[in-house]
Amino acid sequence: MLSIRRLNFLGTITDSTLGELESINLVEARNVFKWFPIKGGLFGRTIANVRAVDGVSISIRKGETMGLVGESGSGKTTLGRTIMRLIDPTKGEIFFDGVNITRLSGRSLKRYRRRMQMVFQDPYASLDPRQTVRSALTEPMKIHHIASSKKEADEAAAKLIETVGLNQDHLERFPHEFSGGQRQRIAIARALAVNPEFVLLDEPTSSLDVSVQAQILNLLKQLQRRFNLTYLFISHNLSVIRHMCDRVAVMYLGRIVEIGNMKAIYESPKHPYTFALLSAVPNPDPTKRKEHEPVLEGEVPSPIDIPSGCRFRTRCPYNTEKCAREFPPLVEIEPGHWVECHYDIDFSSARRSF
């Protein structure tokens, strides 16, 4: 059993040198755009674009957990679906294990589908309501011809269901007979049925209760160690991201505004949005209550009509004229810690005067 997982030392490797370390990146998205056209008028012309993902580069290293955090409308789920090749990017490329899979389809894509699996937010909706658990677990094996006989598939399903902490009696039941946490365990088991290397976790615990969430998070960590998995963990919950991830990317309106090691992001955020997001999280410690701290005003603007220059400027308390004029550069503020902002703001004093 492989148990080495945390490749934290890689956090010191900068993106510029990553080109030479191709094999270390299991999944990579290069300058990915995903625009959804809005058709209108008499001839169905494109009148506008929803710029859900607007130029994102991200690389996920073997064995790590990359966190992708953002509010609704930030494009984090669209980015995840693009990486999974569930939707085609408008522009940009996706690499899996060094191979460009952007243009693959049919049988050649299916080979990669086996190596990358996904767990969805709503476990009930992501399971076919008419399928028993056994059939849900053996179906991916059938699709990828993993089990040679029905008996072998059944044995594998029995093993899987125990791996995720349920028992074999559950195999004959239907999804609606389970609680939310159990359903998510089934969805995880189904994702693991084909021995994937990479698992995209799209808000896997946000519909669950706190103690069930903790059970699932523990299970995910345990499975990662056991099967040497690489995770992309999408969530809006910053506490969960902190608990799960080695590196974190913060998305706002279709772009990654800050990316870096978990510790660096949480302890010294450099982008005003990351800072605002962190200070908005309710802390389960009433002695650290934020009594008079001002909160970020307004809501995320529409991804159809993105502000000029820096897209966060409309809500940013530090916004200047330059922000409206110029697109902010992507700066490497520390090794492996990239920020898309014109300024280097010191938030240690801001905590009081924000």
Binding site: F120, R130, I143, H144, R173, F174, G181, Q182, Q222
Partner: protein
């Protein structure tokens, strides 16, 4: 490895689903059906009418629909028969040989209704089943292919939706003559587009559900997702519609018959019986009431059954 996966001791719904799986699903459906008296009466009516139709040849003499000549002496007075024979007495319901009375041709009304049922049900079932088959096939293709094919199928259904059923029936009858098959086709032509639309919308809705995407992410092919997952999940509302339509088609078809499209004046079709009786409605209302009642009961039975199936299959009850 220090962590362990916690056992889960309680499952909220396991109490009544201990031997779970398909059998308990069916049991649960039957429970829901029993709980609803309307469903129960609907299924009694529907199954009863099917049984009577199936056994009609045994219950009554299959030739009794034919014109009885010379008319029986206690038959109801009718001017046409009068022309041949004087002194025919009216024959209201309640007499031992004629529990529902006799019609203008001296035929036993009860026998006529029993013989009329299989004709109506056969026609109705053949129309609904063909419409269902065409609808599911075309609807699935349209929804899943999308784009131009979808557009083409939709426009074709639009054309057929625009057909006035009555006029179509008139034209067909004028061209091909009075014939039950022709009339069945006429109704089918205006009936199937509904199923295409319904199936298409169901599949479109189902296609967007996360489980379809989950299957895609898993590597399942399009056909596998469509045939093994999406169609089985979206077919229930179409089945409900079909059950409801059996009653609807009977009503439509008997209306056509009532309007005088009947192939032979003696066809024991329920609508035709009403139409025959209507000229004597003031003197002998039972000639209209009983065949009419039979139509209502059969249609009502299938409607209630359809509603019941919808309630039972309702996902909100299912969860």
């Amino acid at each position: 490895m220090t962590q362990r996966v916690e056992e889960v001791p309680f499952e909220p719904r396991s109490v009544y689903r201990r031997r779970s799986g398909r059998i308990s699903e069916i049991k649960y459906s039957l429970y829901l059906a029993r709980k609803n008296p309307l469903v129960l009466s609907g299924s009694v009516l529907a199954i009863g009418s099917i049984l009577i139709a199936a056994l009609s040849g045994i219950i009554v003499d299959p030739r009794s629909w034919a014109f009885q000549y010379p008319p029986r002496y206690y038959c109801w007075n009718n001017p046409w028969i009068n022309w041949h024979l004087q002194n025919i007495k009216p024959c209201p319901p309640g007499t031992p040989f004629y529990p529902l009375g006799a019609d203008a041709f001296g035929r036993n009304l009860l026998n006529m209704i029993i013989l009329g049922l299989p004709i109506d049900l056969q026609i109705s079932f053949s129309i609904v089943i063909s419409a269902f088959a065409i609808g599911v096939a075309l609807g699935a293709v349209a929804a899943y292919a999308g784009g131009l094919i979808d557009e083409a199928v939709l426009r074709i259904t639009d054309v057929f939706f625009a057909f006035p059923g009555l006029v179509l029936a008139l034209v067909l009858v004028a061209v091909f003559g009075r014939n039950l098959t022709i009339l069945t086709l006429a109704v089918l032509v205006v009936w199937w587009p509904l199923y295409v639309r319904l199936t298409r919308s169901q599949i479109l809705a189902e296609k967007e559900k996360p489980y379809a995407e989950a299957l895609k992410a898993m590597g399942a092919g399009r056909l596998r997702i469509l045939f093994l997952h999406i169609i089985p999940n979206s077919i229930y509302p179409v089945i409900v519609q079909a059950t409801l339509d059996i009653g609807g088609v009977i009503l439509t078809f008997s209306s056509l018959m009532f309007l005088g499209f009947a192939p032979s004046p003696l066809t024991p079709e329920l609508g035709k019986l009403v139409s025959d009786g209507i000229s004597f409605v003031s003197q002998a209302p039972w000639l209209v009431i009983f065949p009419g009642l039979a139509i209502v009961l059969v249609a009502l039975g299938f409607n209630l059954l359809g509603d019941g199936i919808r309630d039972i299959l309702d996902p909100r009850l299912r969860r």
